[in-house]
Symmetry: C2
Subunit: 212 residues, 2 copies
Amino acid sequence: MSSTDDLQANARIRGAAMDLFGKQGIRATTVRQIAQAAGVSPGLVIHHFGSKDGLRRACDEWMMAQITATKTAAVSGGGAMEAVFRAQNQFRPFYGYIAASISEGGEGADRLFEAMRRLTRDMFDVGVPAGILREPSDIDAMSTVLVALTLGATMLEGQLARHLGGEHLLDPEVMPRYSITATELFTYGIFADDTMLRQIQAAFAKPPPDGL
Amino acid sequence: MSSTDDLQANARIRGAAMDLFGKQGIRATTVRQIAQAAGVSPGLVIHHFGSKDGLRRACDEWMMAQITATKTAAVSGGGAMEAVFRAQNQFRPFYGYIAASISEGGEGADRLFEAMRRLTRDMFDVGVPAGILREPSDIDAMSTVLVALTLGATMLEGQLARHLGGEHLLDPEVMPRYSITATELFTYGIFADDTMLRQIQAAFAKPPPDGL
DNA sequence: GTCTATATAATGATAGAC
DNA sequence: GTCTATCATTATATAGAC
């Protein structure tokens, strides 16, 4: 019982921390706020995790465990592409925390970004042979850029949602408009043809004629 | 002379603030750090701007002035599309600050995001008739999403650059790979065809069959 | 395990000399 | 205009009772 209660308080504190870290940023979130949200005293938070940074590390490790566990399940199960998409959606509630943790740096940030990049790369490895995704010319770079764009947009969720007619990305007025627009962008791009792409490829292929 | 020196110190402080705000975030940056970077005492920073928040407001206002000034120049000058692209590039060094200011909220954040969104929308208004850009089905949503994606990626510059083989986005090893990949994404998208787009459009067009 | 103090460090802001 | 010294506030972390 006591060990069960312990685990519950532990999990409640971690959950509250990930929620607030994701919404306000890690530095902007105080131990007192976390304690209040979890319904415990500030002292208990430190008692369990040693320090605020220890709590943050615990959040990173929990998140990593979720990602690796899901990846294993996705690979072993049937319907590979659906599983990969499901994995992406499954983590959307945590995008806020992931983005905050990565953007504020620290030890776990690199591993967390790498895990997300791997997840996205797996999506290409499965989706290209399946005929769902086109093959990027630089699959590692494309995975990296996609993760940065997706996580980055999460950090600006408030502005995004406000301009799309709501408060949060998951609001019923906002979500359709965002999903359709993002999918349209990832289907057709924004350029009418490949003129710009060839210009940029050419510009970087040879040493520039003059400065810059 | 004295007034000239005053302006110089003022500008130096503001410049140091925008640099550090952009790199570390506003909350994470201390008045002492800004003072040291600008080569002045912490007291002088407060003396000139009243408070840390006053300094931040001054940065927002300076940034807004730059954007509006450039917009005017771009519209009045010839070669509209080139001017718009030039405007986008001109602000890249400040993307870090813009993203930080917007993501940490406050008074100026909304105006700043709106200014960037207008700038991007103008790009479509000029680029679509010119045959350079395809017409999005929801041009306001597309402008908003593009700004969020672009600014958001800036916040993760460190990770982006690290995976692309360098330290900063502007490094000579990193920039070509990033530019080409991003342009490829914005030219071809990632999907092989419009299957996914039609699925999502259909899913949101009618009330979902069951929960969610 | 959990709470209530309390100690300590860092930060934004002020006051007054030059 | 600029600096040094200081204050007041806030936040993390500790200590000890229950």
